[in-house]
Protein backbone atom coordinates (compact mmCIF):
# COMPACT_ATOMS: atom_id res chain seq x y z
CA UNK A 1 0.00 0.00 0.00
CA UNK A 2 1.32 3.39 -0.99
CA UNK A 3 1.95 6.20 1.41
CA UNK A 4 -0.07 9.11 0.03
CA UNK A 5 1.54 12.42 0.76
CA UNK A 6 0.27 15.86 -0.19
CA UNK A 7 2.86 18.53 -0.81
CA UNK A 8 1.43 21.90 0.03
CA UNK A 9 2.28 25.36 1.34
CA UNK A 10 -0.59 27.82 1.21
CA UNK A 11 1.48 30.43 -0.56
CA UNK A 12 2.31 30.12 -4.24
CA UNK A 13 5.77 30.08 -5.72
CA UNK A 14 7.52 28.62 -2.71
CA UNK A 15 8.57 25.51 -4.62
CA UNK A 16 5.88 22.86 -4.10
CA UNK A 17 6.06 21.64 -7.68
CA UNK A 18 9.85 21.73 -7.83
CA UNK A 19 10.06 19.75 -4.63
CA UNK A 20 7.40 17.26 -5.68
CA UNK A 21 9.25 16.50 -8.89
CA UNK A 22 12.69 16.16 -7.41
CA UNK A 23 11.59 14.26 -4.34
CA UNK A 24 9.76 11.88 -6.64
CA UNK A 25 12.96 11.38 -8.66
CA UNK A 26 15.01 10.81 -5.52
CA UNK A 27 12.56 8.22 -4.21
CA UNK A 28 12.34 6.49 -7.58
CA UNK A 29 16.11 6.41 -7.77
CA UNK A 30 16.09 4.54 -4.49
CA UNK A 31 13.92 1.97 -6.28
CA UNK A 32 10.61 2.94 -4.81
CA UNK A 33 7.61 2.91 -7.11
CA UNK A 34 6.43 6.50 -7.17
CA UNK A 35 3.32 8.08 -8.62
CA UNK A 36 3.33 11.84 -8.87
CA UNK A 37 -0.09 13.49 -9.12
CA UNK A 38 -0.39 16.99 -10.55
CA UNK A 39 -3.37 18.32 -8.66
CA UNK A 40 -2.92 21.87 -9.90
CA UNK A 41 -5.81 21.09 -12.18
CA UNK A 42 -6.26 24.24 -14.18
CA UNK A 43 -2.58 24.87 -14.76
CA UNK A 44 -0.50 21.71 -15.12
CA UNK A 45 3.21 22.16 -14.95
CA UNK A 46 4.73 18.98 -13.63
CA UNK A 47 4.85 17.46 -17.11
CA UNK A 48 6.73 20.52 -18.34
CA UNK A 49 9.14 20.44 -15.45
CA UNK A 50 9.84 16.76 -16.08
CA UNK A 51 10.12 17.16 -19.82
CA UNK A 52 7.14 14.89 -20.41
CA UNK A 53 4.89 17.43 -22.05
CA UNK A 54 4.93 15.63 -25.39
CA UNK A 55 4.11 12.31 -23.85
CA UNK A 56 0.81 13.45 -22.44
CA UNK A 57 -1.89 11.71 -24.43
CA UNK A 58 -4.65 11.42 -21.92
CA UNK A 59 -5.18 13.61 -18.92
CA UNK A 60 -7.50 13.69 -15.96
CA UNK A 61 -10.36 15.06 -18.00
CA UNK A 62 -10.22 12.05 -20.31
CA UNK A 63 -10.48 9.73 -17.35
CA UNK A 64 -13.40 11.68 -15.95
CA UNK A 65 -15.13 11.66 -19.35
CA UNK A 66 -14.44 7.97 -19.81
CA UNK A 67 -12.18 8.30 -22.86
CA UNK A 68 -9.43 6.25 -21.24
CA UNK A 69 -8.88 3.94 -18.33
CA UNK A 70 -7.24 5.02 -15.16
CA UNK A 71 -4.06 3.16 -16.06
CA UNK A 72 -3.80 4.85 -19.44
CA UNK A 73 -3.46 8.24 -17.84
CA UNK A 74 -0.17 7.29 -16.21
CA UNK A 75 2.92 8.64 -17.97
CA UNK A 76 6.15 6.79 -17.50
CA UNK A 77 9.13 9.00 -16.74
CA UNK A 78 12.01 9.20 -19.20
CA UNK A 79 14.77 8.71 -16.69
CA UNK A 80 13.43 6.73 -13.74
CA UNK A 81 11.88 3.38 -14.47
CA UNK A 82 9.71 3.35 -11.38
CA UNK A 83 8.37 6.90 -11.66
CA UNK A 84 4.99 7.77 -13.16
CA UNK A 85 3.10 11.01 -13.54
CA UNK A 86 -0.60 11.71 -13.57
CA UNK A 87 -0.79 15.02 -15.39
CA UNK A 88 -3.39 17.66 -14.73
CA UNK A 89 -5.03 19.33 -17.68
CA UNK A 90 -5.65 22.85 -18.73
CA UNK A 91 -9.32 22.42 -19.51
CA UNK A 92 -10.55 20.68 -16.42
CA UNK A 93 -12.13 22.96 -13.86
CA UNK A 94 -12.70 22.00 -10.29
CA UNK A 95 -16.38 22.37 -10.97
CA UNK A 96 -16.25 19.36 -13.32
CA UNK A 97 -14.46 17.29 -10.82
CA UNK A 98 -15.57 15.77 -7.63
CA UNK A 99 -13.81 14.66 -4.58
CA UNK A 100 -14.86 11.03 -4.79
CA UNK A 101 -13.31 10.86 -8.21
CA UNK A 102 -9.95 11.99 -7.00
CA UNK A 103 -10.24 9.59 -4.10
CA UNK A 104 -11.11 6.69 -6.41
CA UNK A 105 -8.11 7.48 -8.54
CA UNK A 106 -5.75 7.56 -5.59
CA UNK A 107 -7.24 4.38 -4.14
CA UNK A 108 -6.86 2.67 -7.50
CA UNK A 109 -3.15 3.39 -7.66
CA UNK A 110 -2.45 2.74 -4.00
CA UNK A 111 -1.80 -0.91 -4.68
CA UNK A 112 0.69 -0.38 -7.49
CA UNK A 113 2.97 2.14 -5.82
CA UNK A 114 5.04 2.74 -2.71
CA UNK A 115 4.55 6.48 -2.77
CA UNK A 116 1.84 8.69 -4.18
CA UNK A 117 2.96 12.31 -4.05
CA UNK A 118 0.23 14.87 -4.66
CA UNK A 119 1.39 18.32 -5.73
CA UNK A 120 -1.22 20.69 -4.34
CA UNK A 121 -2.10 24.03 -5.90
CA UNK A 122 -1.52 27.19 -3.90
CA UNK A 123 -4.18 28.57 -1.63
CA UNK A 124 -6.63 26.90 0.70
CA UNK A 125 -9.52 26.72 -1.71
CA UNK A 126 -11.04 23.80 -3.53
CA UNK A 127 -7.83 22.62 -5.18
CA UNK A 128 -6.04 22.38 -1.90
CA UNK A 129 -9.03 20.64 -0.35
CA UNK A 130 -9.07 18.01 -3.10
CA UNK A 131 -5.37 17.37 -2.81
CA UNK A 132 -5.41 17.23 0.97
CA UNK A 133 -8.47 15.03 1.24
CA UNK A 134 -6.80 12.18 -0.62
CA UNK A 135 -3.66 12.17 1.48
CA UNK A 136 -2.73 10.47 4.72
CA UNK A 137 0.37 12.54 5.28
CA UNK A 138 1.55 16.01 4.38
CA UNK A 139 4.77 17.79 3.61
CA UNK A 140 4.59 21.55 3.88
CA UNK A 141 7.05 23.61 1.92
CA UNK A 142 8.13 26.87 3.44
CA UNK A 143 10.50 29.69 2.53
CA UNK A 144 12.20 31.70 5.20
CA UNK A 145 9.98 34.72 4.86
CA UNK A 146 7.15 35.89 7.03
CA UNK A 147 4.31 35.52 4.56
CA UNK A 148 5.31 31.99 3.67
CA UNK A 149 5.54 30.94 7.30
CA UNK A 150 2.20 32.54 8.18
CA UNK A 151 0.44 30.84 5.28
CA UNK A 152 2.05 27.59 6.12
CA UNK A 153 0.86 27.86 9.70
CA UNK A 154 -2.66 28.38 8.45
CA UNK A 155 -2.40 25.34 6.20
CA UNK A 156 -1.05 23.16 8.98
CA UNK A 157 -4.06 24.08 11.09
CA UNK A 158 -6.38 23.07 8.25
CA UNK A 159 -4.53 19.81 7.61
CA UNK A 160 -4.77 18.89 11.27
CA UNK A 161 -8.48 19.61 11.20
CA UNK A 162 -8.75 17.10 8.36
CA UNK A 163 -7.12 14.55 10.61
CA UNK A 164 -3.75 14.58 8.89
CA UNK A 165 -1.43 14.35 11.84
CA UNK A 166 1.74 13.24 10.12
CA UNK A 167 3.05 16.57 8.86
CA UNK A 168 6.66 17.49 8.28
CA UNK A 169 8.26 20.47 6.63
CA UNK A 170 10.85 21.22 4.00
CA UNK A 171 12.54 24.59 4.01
CA UNK A 172 13.11 25.62 0.42
CA UNK A 173 15.30 28.34 -1.06
CA UNK A 174 17.43 28.60 2.04
CA UNK A 175 20.23 31.07 1.49
CA UNK A 176 22.93 31.23 4.13
CA UNK A 177 24.08 34.67 3.17
CA UNK A 178 20.59 36.03 3.50
CA UNK A 179 20.27 34.49 6.93
CA UNK A 180 23.66 35.88 7.91
CA UNK A 181 22.89 39.44 6.87
CA UNK A 182 19.38 39.11 8.27
CA UNK A 183 17.68 39.52 4.93
CA UNK A 184 15.73 36.35 5.58
CA UNK A 185 14.42 34.74 8.71
CA UNK A 186 16.30 31.84 10.24
CA UNK A 187 15.56 28.16 10.29
CA UNK A 188 14.92 28.47 13.97
CA UNK A 189 12.18 31.04 13.34
CA UNK A 190 10.43 28.59 11.08
CA UNK A 191 10.75 25.57 13.36
CA UNK A 192 9.65 27.59 16.37
CA UNK A 193 6.51 28.99 14.79
CA UNK A 194 5.46 25.89 12.92
CA UNK A 195 6.64 23.36 15.50
CA UNK A 196 6.89 20.63 12.88
CA UNK A 197 9.61 18.06 12.33
CA UNK A 198 12.09 19.22 9.71
CA UNK A 199 12.26 16.80 6.82
CA UNK A 200 15.00 18.66 5.03
CA UNK A 201 16.54 21.78 3.61
CA UNK A 202 16.76 22.75 -0.05
CA UNK A 203 19.11 25.57 -0.87
CA UNK A 204 18.42 28.49 -3.14
CA UNK A 205 20.18 27.50 -6.34
CA UNK A 206 19.97 28.91 -9.85
CA UNK A 207 20.39 25.37 -11.20
CA UNK A 208 16.85 24.70 -10.02
CA UNK A 209 15.40 27.43 -12.19
CA UNK A 210 17.45 26.37 -15.17
CA UNK A 211 16.51 22.73 -14.69
CA UNK A 212 12.81 23.51 -14.46
CA UNK A 213 13.04 25.47 -17.67
CA UNK A 214 14.91 22.74 -19.48
CA UNK A 215 12.52 20.06 -18.35
CA UNK A 216 15.21 18.00 -16.65
CA UNK A 217 14.78 17.82 -12.88
CA UNK A 218 17.69 19.38 -11.00
CA UNK A 219 18.07 16.03 -9.27
CA UNK A 220 19.87 14.81 -12.40
CA UNK A 221 22.24 17.77 -12.47
CA UNK A 222 25.51 16.63 -10.92
CA UNK A 223 26.79 20.16 -10.57
CA UNK A 224 24.00 21.11 -8.21
CA UNK A 225 24.17 20.60 -4.47
CA UNK A 226 20.40 20.09 -4.57
CA UNK A 227 20.74 16.49 -5.67
CA UNK A 228 22.25 15.67 -2.29
CA UNK A 229 19.51 17.62 -0.53
CA UNK A 230 16.79 15.57 -2.20
CA UNK A 231 18.60 12.28 -1.56
CA UNK A 232 18.71 13.09 2.11
CA UNK A 233 15.07 14.13 2.20
CA UNK A 234 14.07 10.87 0.52
CA UNK A 235 16.07 8.87 3.04
CA UNK A 236 14.51 10.70 5.96
CA UNK A 237 11.07 10.10 4.50
CA UNK A 238 11.90 6.41 4.59
CA UNK A 239 12.60 6.66 8.27
CA UNK A 240 16.37 6.81 8.07
CA UNK A 241 18.07 9.06 10.58
CA UNK A 242 20.17 11.42 8.47
CA UNK A 243 21.98 14.09 10.44
CA UNK A 244 22.20 17.75 9.69
CA UNK A 245 25.42 19.67 9.97
CA UNK A 246 26.06 22.82 11.86
CA UNK A 247 26.69 25.87 9.74
CA UNK A 248 30.40 26.52 9.43
CA UNK A 249 29.99 30.06 8.27
CA UNK A 250 31.34 32.49 10.78
CA UNK A 251 29.79 35.76 11.71
CA UNK A 252 31.65 38.92 10.88
CA UNK A 253 32.98 39.25 14.43
CA UNK A 254 34.02 35.61 14.58
CA UNK A 255 35.91 36.03 11.33
CA UNK A 256 37.56 39.11 12.67
CA UNK A 257 38.80 37.51 15.86
CA UNK A 258 39.46 33.95 14.87
CA UNK A 259 41.35 34.33 11.67
Amino acid sequence: MARTIVITSGKGGVGKSSISVNLACALANQDYRVCLVDADLGLKNLDVMMGLENRVIYDLKDVVDGRCTMDQVLIKDKRCASLYLIPACKTLQFGDFNLEYMQTLVDHFKHQFDYILIDSPAGIEKGFQYAANCADEAIVVVNLDLASIRDCDRVVGLLMKKGIGNISMIVNRLNEDYIQNKTSLTLRDATEILSLPLLGIVYEDAHMIAANNRGVPVYFDDRSILRECFCRIARRLNGENVNYTVSRKKTFLQKLFQK
Binding site: D153, S195, C229, V246
Partner: protein
Amino acid sequence: MKIQVKGINDHLLFVIDETLSEAEVLVGITDWIDNPLLHKEGYFIRAYFDFGQRLLSRQFLFALLDVLTTSQQVLFCGFNQPCPTKTEMTHLSMTIRNGEVVQADEDVVFDGRINPGGYLRVQGNVYALGEVRGVIEVHGPNAHISATHLVDATLCINQKRLEHVSTRTLRLYDDVSHDGDILEGDSDG
Protein backbone atom coordinates in the same frame (compact mmCIF):
# COMPACT_ATOMS: atom_id res chain seq x y z
CA MET B 1 -37.20 22.31 60.05
CA LYS B 2 -37.19 22.51 56.25
CA ILE B 3 -38.18 26.16 56.27
CA GLN B 4 -36.67 28.43 58.86
CA VAL B 5 -37.84 31.91 59.56
CA LYS B 6 -35.44 34.41 61.03
CA GLY B 7 -36.27 37.84 62.20
CA ILE B 8 -33.64 40.28 61.13
CA ASN B 9 -34.17 43.89 62.14
CA ASP B 10 -37.51 44.87 60.66
CA HIS B 11 -37.98 41.99 58.25
CA LEU B 12 -38.28 38.22 58.11
CA LEU B 13 -35.90 36.00 56.27
CA PHE B 14 -37.33 32.69 55.03
CA VAL B 15 -34.51 30.21 54.59
CA ILE B 16 -35.72 27.35 52.46
CA ASP B 17 -34.04 23.99 52.37
CA GLU B 18 -32.82 23.03 48.92
CA THR B 19 -34.11 19.45 49.24
CA LEU B 20 -37.78 20.48 49.30
CA SER B 21 -39.80 20.20 46.13
CA GLU B 22 -41.41 23.36 44.80
CA ALA B 23 -44.84 22.17 45.89
CA GLU B 24 -43.57 21.49 49.39
CA VAL B 25 -42.01 24.93 49.50
CA LEU B 26 -45.31 26.56 48.61
CA VAL B 27 -47.20 24.57 51.23
CA GLY B 28 -44.53 25.34 53.81
CA ILE B 29 -44.57 29.04 53.11
CA THR B 30 -48.38 29.15 53.18
CA ASP B 31 -48.34 27.46 56.60
CA TRP B 32 -45.89 29.98 57.93
CA ILE B 33 -47.75 32.95 56.60
CA ASP B 34 -50.98 31.74 58.11
CA ASN B 35 -49.22 31.46 61.44
CA PRO B 36 -50.73 34.12 63.76
CA LEU B 37 -47.26 34.70 65.22
CA LEU B 38 -46.37 36.63 62.12
CA HIS B 39 -49.40 38.79 62.06
CA LYS B 40 -48.89 42.30 63.27
CA GLU B 41 -51.57 44.81 63.85
CA GLY B 42 -51.44 47.84 61.59
CA TYR B 43 -48.63 47.01 59.24
CA PHE B 44 -47.22 44.27 57.06
CA ILE B 45 -44.00 42.53 57.92
CA ARG B 46 -41.48 42.55 55.16
CA ALA B 47 -40.41 39.12 53.95
CA TYR B 48 -37.29 38.07 52.17
CA PHE B 49 -36.68 34.59 50.77
CA ASP B 50 -33.43 32.68 50.59
CA PHE B 51 -33.69 29.72 48.25
CA GLY B 52 -30.03 28.76 48.46
CA GLN B 53 -28.66 27.49 45.19
CA ARG B 54 -32.04 26.36 43.93
CA LEU B 55 -32.91 27.47 40.41
CA LEU B 56 -36.43 28.89 40.42
CA SER B 57 -38.89 28.26 37.62
CA ARG B 58 -41.21 30.97 36.38
CA GLN B 59 -44.26 28.99 37.39
CA PHE B 60 -42.91 28.65 40.88
CA LEU B 61 -42.27 32.38 41.17
CA PHE B 62 -45.79 33.19 40.01
CA ALA B 63 -47.26 30.63 42.39
CA LEU B 64 -45.26 32.11 45.25
CA LEU B 65 -46.43 35.65 44.47
CA ASP B 66 -49.95 34.29 44.26
CA VAL B 67 -49.72 32.81 47.74
CA LEU B 68 -48.31 36.04 49.12
CA THR B 69 -50.81 38.38 47.51
CA THR B 70 -53.85 36.27 48.40
CA SER B 71 -52.79 35.87 52.02
CA GLN B 72 -52.16 39.61 52.41
CA GLN B 73 -50.03 39.05 55.49
CA VAL B 74 -46.47 39.87 54.51
CA LEU B 75 -44.82 42.30 52.12
CA PHE B 76 -42.71 40.54 49.52
CA CYS B 77 -39.30 42.18 49.46
CA GLY B 78 -37.32 39.88 47.23
CA PHE B 79 -35.39 36.65 47.03
CA ASN B 80 -31.82 35.71 46.36
CA GLN B 81 -30.78 34.95 42.84
CA PRO B 82 -28.45 31.99 42.70
CA CYS B 83 -25.65 33.22 40.50
CA PRO B 84 -23.72 30.54 38.67
CA THR B 85 -20.42 30.51 40.46
CA LYS B 86 -17.37 30.12 38.28
CA THR B 87 -15.13 27.55 39.78
CA GLU B 88 -14.27 25.88 36.51
CA MET B 89 -10.84 26.23 35.03
CA THR B 90 -9.79 24.65 31.79
CA HIS B 91 -6.34 23.50 30.96
CA LEU B 92 -5.49 23.85 27.29
CA SER B 93 -2.31 22.54 25.81
CA MET B 94 -2.17 23.06 22.07
CA THR B 95 -0.84 25.22 19.28
CA ILE B 96 -3.34 27.79 18.03
CA ARG B 97 -2.30 28.41 14.44
CA ASN B 98 -2.93 31.26 12.05
CA GLY B 99 -6.67 31.52 11.40
CA GLU B 100 -7.73 29.28 14.27
CA VAL B 101 -10.01 30.53 17.03
CA VAL B 102 -10.22 28.68 20.31
CA GLN B 103 -12.98 29.72 22.69
CA ALA B 104 -13.71 28.90 26.30
CA ASP B 105 -16.35 29.99 28.79
CA GLU B 106 -14.23 29.72 31.87
CA ASP B 107 -10.79 30.59 33.11
CA VAL B 108 -8.07 29.04 31.02
CA VAL B 109 -4.61 27.90 31.88
CA PHE B 110 -2.96 27.83 28.49
CA ASP B 111 0.39 26.23 28.06
CA GLY B 112 0.72 26.00 24.31
CA ARG B 113 1.67 28.46 21.62
CA ILE B 114 -0.50 31.08 20.00
CA ASN B 115 0.92 31.85 16.58
CA PRO B 116 0.37 35.12 14.73
CA GLY B 117 -3.21 35.16 13.50
CA GLY B 118 -4.37 32.70 16.16
CA TYR B 119 -7.07 33.67 18.67
CA LEU B 120 -7.76 32.58 22.21
CA ARG B 121 -11.12 34.04 23.21
CA VAL B 122 -12.26 33.49 26.76
CA GLN B 123 -15.13 34.46 29.04
CA GLY B 124 -12.95 34.66 32.10
CA ASN B 125 -9.28 34.94 32.81
CA VAL B 126 -6.29 33.62 30.93
CA TYR B 127 -3.06 32.37 32.38
CA ALA B 128 -0.74 31.84 29.43
CA LEU B 129 2.46 29.96 30.02
CA GLY B 130 3.63 29.40 26.46
CA GLU B 131 4.75 31.78 23.77
CA VAL B 132 2.02 34.13 22.56
CA ARG B 133 2.40 35.89 19.22
CA GLY B 134 -1.29 36.03 18.38
CA VAL B 135 -4.34 37.40 20.12
CA ILE B 136 -5.75 36.78 23.59
CA GLU B 137 -9.22 38.16 24.25
CA VAL B 138 -10.80 38.08 27.68
CA HIS B 139 -14.31 39.17 28.57
CA GLY B 140 -16.16 39.59 31.82
CA PRO B 141 -16.04 41.67 34.98
CA ASN B 142 -12.50 41.85 36.36
CA ALA B 143 -11.21 39.75 33.47
CA HIS B 144 -7.47 39.67 33.32
CA ILE B 145 -4.59 38.13 31.42
CA SER B 146 -1.45 36.75 32.95
CA ALA B 147 1.25 35.75 30.54
CA THR B 148 4.89 34.88 30.72
CA HIS B 149 6.08 35.17 27.17
CA LEU B 150 4.55 37.63 24.75
CA VAL B 151 6.10 38.40 21.39
CA ASP B 152 4.35 41.19 19.54
CA ALA B 153 1.09 39.89 20.93
CA THR B 154 -2.32 41.54 20.89
CA LEU B 155 -4.31 41.58 24.10
CA CYS B 156 -7.98 42.50 24.36
CA ILE B 157 -9.67 43.01 27.70
CA ASN B 158 -13.36 43.81 27.37
CA GLN B 159 -12.92 45.51 23.99
CA LYS B 160 -9.83 47.42 25.06
CA ARG B 161 -6.95 46.52 22.77
CA LEU B 162 -3.26 46.49 23.41
CA GLU B 163 -1.10 45.79 20.42
CA HIS B 164 2.53 44.81 19.96
CA VAL B 165 3.01 43.67 23.52
CA SER B 166 6.22 41.85 24.24
CA THR B 167 7.38 40.53 27.58
CA ARG B 168 9.73 37.86 28.63
CA THR B 169 10.11 36.50 32.08
CA LEU B 170 13.34 34.92 33.15
CA ARG B 171 13.85 31.72 31.31
CA LEU B 172 16.55 29.32 32.38
CA TYR B 173 17.31 26.37 30.25
CA ASP B 174 20.04 24.03 29.36
CA ASP B 175 20.62 24.82 25.74
CA VAL B 176 22.48 22.18 23.84
CA SER B 177 23.34 24.99 21.56
CA HIS B 178 25.41 25.38 18.48
CA ASP B 179 26.83 28.52 17.02
CA GLY B 180 24.89 28.65 13.80
CA ASP B 181 21.82 27.20 12.21
CA ILE B 182 21.83 23.63 11.05
CA LEU B 183 22.37 22.86 7.41
CA GLU B 184 21.96 20.06 4.97
CA GLY B 185 25.15 18.18 4.13
CA ASP B 186 27.73 15.81 5.58
CA SER B 187 28.98 16.71 8.98
CA ASP B 188 32.66 16.01 8.54
CA GLY B 189 35.36 18.48 7.49
